[in-house]
C-alpha cells in the first residue's frame, strides 16, 4: 500500500527552514532520550542543549537512517510533535554532501546524480575508446583475440596509468577538500583528527559497522520494521570487496614498478586473486543493498538520497561485473570491448567518487572521529531527571 499521508513528515526544502525544523525536532528528542542506546547520534545529541546548523550537520553524518528510533518514537507523525529523526537527518545529510563538495560549483552534480553518473559512464567509455583507438591504430585491432590476454596491446600501460593517475589525483584532492570542509564546519582542528585513540576507535567502528548491528545480535530495522543483519552483511561485502579491488591494484602497481612484472598476471597470482574476490564481493554486496533498498519501508526512507544511492550501487555493480567478465574473456576477441567497458566504468566511478554516495564514507568516518574525541571531553552535568 502507498504511504499513508498522515504518517508522512513534510520537510522544508529550504536549508534555513530545514535547519530550524532540525533544531525543533532535536530539541524535543533531547528531552526524551529513550533511544540513547541505538547509535552514536543520541549520545552526541545529549552533549548539546541547542542545535545549530553545524551540530545538525555533524549529527546527520553519524546517522544511518536505519529507522530504529522512528519505530520506537512515541512522537512520530501524526503526533503533533511530529518527530522523525531518520528522515530529518537524511535530508540534512544530503544537504551536507552538497555543502562540502569541492570545487563548489560541482555540488550541483548531486542534484541529478543518476544523470551525472550515466553521463560520466558514457564519457568514461568514450574516453577509453578514444585512447584505445589512438594507440591501436585501427578499430579492427580492438576485436582481435590475444591468446596472451595482453590488454596493454589495446591500451599501453603508460597511457592507462597516466590517465587514471591524473583523474585519481584530482579525486583525492576533491575528497580531501571535502573532508577539510566538513572538519572545519564541525569546529575541529586538524591536529585533533590525528589523535591515535580516536582514529583507532573509528577504524574499529567502520570495520565492524558497529552502528548497523542494533545491540550486536539482531541488527537494525532495515529495510522493514523487524531487525535484521542484512544491510550490515551486504555493506561488509561491498566495503571489503572495494578494499580487495583496491589492494589488487596496489599489488599490480608494485609488481609493475617494483619487480618489472608485466600484466596480465596468472589466475592464481595475488593481484588476480584479490581482484576476483573483491569483484565478487563488489557484485553481491551492492546488489544486495539495492535489493534491500527497494524493499525499504517508505516511512523511513530518505527521498533526498535515493537517486545517488542507486547511481552509486549501479556503478559499483557494473564495475565489478565488467571486471570479472574481462578476466573470464581476456583471451577471446571480446577482450578489447570488455576492457573498454570496464575501464570506462572504473573511470566513471573515479570521477563520481567526490560527487556521489561514496562521500558518505568520508563524512561518516570523520564524524565518528569527532564522536570519539567528544566522548573524552567533559560534558554537561544535567543532574538527574
Amino acid at each position: 500500500m502507498s504511504k499513508p499521508d498522515q504518517f508522512v513528515l513534510r520537510l522544508p526544502a529550504d536549508t534555513q527552514a530545514l535547519m530550524a525544523e532540525g533544531a525543533r525536532q532535536m530539541g524535543i528528542c533531547n528531552s526524551c532520550r529513550y533511544c540513547e542506546g541505538y547509535c552514536a547520534v543520541f549520545p552526541a545529541m545529549e552533549r548539546r542543549l541547542e542545535f545549530h546548523g553545524t551540530d545538525l550537520n555533524y549529527l546527520a553524518n553519524l546517522c544511518h537512517s536505519c529507522g530504529e528510533c522512528y519505530y520506537a518514537c512515541q512522537y512520530s507523525p501524526p503526533h503533533e510533535f511530529a518527530i522523525h529523526i531518520p528522515q530529518l537527518l537524511g535530508a540534512i545529510r544530503a544537504k551536507t554532501y552538497r555543502q562540502y563538495a569541492w570545487p563548489a560549483p560541482l555540488a550541483n552534480l548531486f542534484d541529478s546524480n543518476g544523470l551525472f553518473v550515466a553521463v560520466a559512464l558514457m564519457a568514461g567509455i568514450a574516453a577509453i575508446l578514444l585512447l584505445a583507438t589512438l594507440f591501436a591504430g585501427n578499430g579492427a585491432a580492438l576485436a582481435e583475440a590475444r591468446p596472451d590476454g595482453s590488454f596493454y596491446a589495446v591500451i599501453p600501460h603508460t597511457a592507462m596509468a597516466g590517465v587514471f593517475g591524473l583523474v585519481g589525483l584530482f579525486v583525492l584532492v576533491a575528497l580531501l577538500a571535502g573532508f577539510m570542509k566538513f572538519w572545519r564546519d564541525a569546529g575541529e582542528n586538524l591536529a585533533e583528527f590525528t589523535r591515535p585513540f580516536a582514529l583507532a576507535e573509528t577504524l574499529k567502528d567502520i570495520a565492524t559497522l558497529k552502528y548497523l548491528d542494533g545491540d550486536s545480535q539482531v541488527g537494525c530495522t532495515y529495510p522493514g520494521e523487524q531487525p535484521s543483519q542484512a544491510r550490515r552483511w551486504f555493506h561488509h561485502l561491498t566495503f571489503y570487496g572495494f578494499l580487495l579491488c583496491f589492494a589488487a591494484t596496489l599489488v599490480g602497481t608494485l609488481y609493475h614498478y617494483g619487480f618489472g612484472w608485466q600484466a596480465p598476471y596468472g589466475f592464481y597470482s595475488l593481484p588476480v586473486l584479490l581482484g576476483t574476490l573483491g569483484g565478487i564481493g563488489l557484485a553481491i554486496g551492492p546488489a544486495g543493498l539495492w535489493w534491500l533498498k527497494v524493499r525499504q519501508d517508505p516511512l523511513t526512507a530518505s527521498p533526498e538520497q535515493a537517486g545517488m544511492d542507486i547511481a552509486f550501487i549501479a556503478l559499483l555493480i557494473l564495475t565489478s561485473l565488467s571486471g570479472l567478465a574481462l578476466l573470464a574473456g581476456r583471451e577471446s576477441q571480446w577482450m578489447g570491448s570488455l576492457l573498454i567497458l570496464h575501464l570506462g566504468a572504473v573511470m566513471a566511478l573515479f570521477i563520481s567518487l567526490p560527487y556521489g554516495k561514496f562521500v558518505h564514507g568520508i563524512y561518516r568516518g570523520a564524524a565518528l572521529v569527532k564522536y570519539a574525541l567528544e566522548r573524552r571531553r567533559p560534558g554537561l552535568d544535567l543532574g538527574g531527571d
Binding site: E36, Y38, E46, Y71, P223, E225, R295, D381, G383, D385
Partner: protein
Amino acid sequence: MRSSALSCKASARHPPQPWFRLGRSEPSAPAKRISRTDIPKQHESTTMKDPYACDVLVIGGGNAALCAAITAAEAGAKVTLLECAPRHYRGGNSRHTRNIRTMHRAPMHPLIEAYPEEEYYQDLLKITGGNTNEELARHVIRTSEPAIAWMRAHGVRFQPSLGGTLHLGRTNAFFLGGGKALVNCYFHAAELLGVKVLYEAEAVDLEVKNNRFTSAIVRKDGAEMRIGARAVVVAAGGFESNLEWLEDAWGPAAKNFLIRGTPYNMGKMLRVLHQRGAEAIGDPKQCHAAAIDARAPKFDGGIVSRVDCVSLGVVLNRDGLRFYDEGEDFWPKRYAIWGRLIAMQPDQIGYCIIDRKPIGRFMPPVFPGFKANTIAELAQKLGLPVDIVVKTIADYNAAVVPGQFDHTIMDNCHTRGLAPEKTHWALKIDAPPYYGYPLRPGITFTYLGVDVTPRAQIKMKSGDVAENMFAAGEIMAGNILSKGYLAGIGITIGTVFGRIAGEEAARHVKA
C-alpha cells in the same frame, strides 16, 4: 498502513526474520491469518455470529494485556486481543514508559549491584505509607527477577540506565528505545503466536452471569458485535483520559489538568467491571500527577513535557507568590508531589523562574522558557502581576544565605526568614536573562481499580471470586500501589500480573 506492518525486535525464541525473507509487502504467516479474520467471513454460518470467538479474550493493548495474550497463547489457548487505539497509537500508557523496576540478588545486565526483595518491599512501604497488599506485593517483587529473561525471550532489548537516570541504574532496567519499542516487540511476538489483534476495537460492555464472563460487546468500524470467550483478561488501564470522570473526582480543577499519556484510557472497562459486581479497590481521588510544562499537549505529551529546573529556581503561583519549598529534595524525588501542589493553587497553574545560572544543569525542557532581561519584563510576558513578582523575587534574593552551590548534592544554599523557605540550591535570581516556565498538573495514571486474588482473578462484591475473569496492569495496580509511586513499578506489576492472568486464563480454558 503497510500490510506487513508488524512491529518488533527479534528474540531468542523468535529470531529475526532471515534476510532472504525480508519483504515490503510480505506478511508473516500469523499476520496473514489476522488480516483474513479482520474481515468477518459472512458466508460461513459458524462464524456468522461471532467471527472472533476465542478461548481467551484480552481487553487492552498495553504491556499487561500483551504479556497476558502471549502467555495464554503459549499455553495453547486461542487468543483475541482488543486494542481500542489505532495501530499507530497502540500500547496504552506503556508506550510512554521506559523501564521496569526489578529485584535482583546479583548484577544482572543491564542492572548493576543488587536490589534485594526486602529493600524493594521497604521502598514500596515507604511510598504507600504501608498501605499495600503484602502477599501480592511480595509476589510481584519476587517474580520481577525472572521476568527479565522472559522479556528478552520475547524480543525486548535493554540498555544501560539513560543519561540523567544513573540513580536508577541499580533498580530499573531500561528498554532499548523505550516503551513503544517494548510494545512493538510484544505485538510482534503475539502475532507470531497466532494471537488475533483487533485495532480500533473498543470493548464497551461485558456480559457476566453468576460471576461468569460469557462475552464482550465490542464496537469496531462503527458497529457493535458480541465476542464470546471462555475467559477474559481485562487489562484496559485506568480512567486518566476521561476528563468527566476526573472532574467527578477532583471537581472543576480537573479541567486544567493535562494528561501525560494515551487519550484512550477512558476507564470504560473499569466502570463496567464495577457495574457488573467487581469489588473496587483504591481511591478515585488518587492519581499520579507531576508538574509539567503548561504548553504540553492535552494528551500524550509523555516524558518530554517534564520541566526539571524547579529545584534550581523558584515557583510562583498565579498571584506572583511562592507556595512551597522548591529545594526540599532532589527533583526526581519531588516532581510527583509538585503535580498535586500546583493542582491546589488558584487556576491550577505555577510558574518556575530561573536566571542564567542553572542553564546546562538540568534536563533540557521541550518548550523553550519565556525569556526576558528583567524580572518585571518576564512577569509581564508570563501574564503575572508585575509588582508582586518583582517584590517576591527581591524578598527571595534578600533572604538567600550564601553557600556552596552544588546541584548534584543536597547543598547548603538556603534562605533564611522566608515563608516558605527554600532549603537547598537557593541562589539569588539576579543574572539575566531570566527564564519562566508555566507549569500544570500532568496526570500519569489513576489508582482506582478492581480487587484481585494472587491468581489475578477478579474478586466480586458478593465475596465470590470470578472464575474466568482476570485483571492485570493499571486496572488492578491499586492492590499494591494505593498511593505514591516508585519509578518503573507500573511495568513490573503489569508484566507479572499480565503473565499470571494469561497463564491462569489458559489453565481455566483447558480445565
